[in-house]
Point group: C2
Chain length 158, copies 2
DNA sequence: TGAATAAAAGACTTTTTTGTCCTCTTTTTA
DNA sequence: TAAAAAGAGGACAAAAAAGTCTTTTATTCA
């Protein structure tokens, strides 16, 4: 388990972010994808297949087949991935696990959590993969090139 | 798994909140506690024991024994429970699961997440169990009395 | 002192999540 | 058309988390 999303969901996010930086007609195999971003090939295949079934990504069998994004990056939000893989609990359930923690029966941290949850939802839904792309490219390059290697010209100064 | 904390951690939070509304010398058995707040008795015993070992709560064996809080409520913070049961990952790891997501190698949502995380930390650490007590009493009463029963005089108006 | 109560301790089982492997089908290209 | 590449699908295995049960130890009280 990650800190807020399941491992499976984190894998899905990484995979889709990776697809988002490729050219639209550039399919990538589960093997190549998992080699690049350091996730397990077999499990990645499983998760990618689920994402295809869910309609988040597309796939094509055979030589030169692979996974790819069919939609415009403007139309894909991180929250779609979260909802598909992990469900809607983050946006519905009580953060302390109290049952029926709604407007009336508030848990002790309900007042604060409402605002925080709204910000999380905002973080995941107001910017599309297109908006995230510059940072995604940078992060993925850093991951792929490794920690020791500096990204030329626009590398970290701090 | 809850939405942000493990089931075990949620159980621990509920149990300690329950202890926080009792008189200081009022010990409660695992059975009574779990009956009241609707958690499983045997698993609760396990978790309560861990909390004793961790020094968060106290216990006493034998007739009229049970679990209780030894410290002042002002000195107990929710974040202590989180850190003890679930560790420090929520405050250290990347929300998208990217490795080494620090000041330099930022993930695509890093800018937003930093502020959100700070608010979560604030929510869990700036108010003690003493501050939370009024809401805790209300919430626990609602849980114990059940949904159909209205809490007299200070019940929900909305 | 013996019975009852309640935590401590640990073994054990079940469920969920994660991860692996194998075979089948589709697609392309030589 | 055969070989190779790559996803689809399903069975299976391992690990982690959650949950159950039994025995032992400590404490109180009649």
């Amino acid at each position: 388990m990650g800190i807020m999303f399941s491992n499976k969901c984190e894998l899905a996010i990484k995979a889709i972010l990776y697809l988002s930086v490729l050219d639209k007609d550039n399919k990538v195999s589960a093997k190549a994808l998992s080699d690049q971003i350091g996730i397990m090939k077999d499990y990645a295949s499983k998760v990618l297949q689920e994402l295809v079934v869910a309609g988040l990504i597309c796939s094509k069998q055979g030589v030169h087949g692979g996974f790819y994004l069919d939609k415009n990056l403007e139309d894909i939000l991180l929250i779609d991935i979260i909802r598909t893989v992990d469900g809607n609990g983050l946006f519905e359930n009580c953060v302390l696990g109290f049952p029926g923690c709604g407007s009336c029966e508030d848990c002790p941290v309900h007042d604060k959590w409402g605002g925080i949850r709204a910000q999380i939802e905002d973080m995941l839904s107001t910017r599309s993969l297109a908006d995230l792309k510059p940072k995604t490219v940078k992060k993925l390059l850093e991951m792929i090139l490794g920690e020791g290697i500096k990204v030329p010209s626009w590398g970290c100064q701090g």
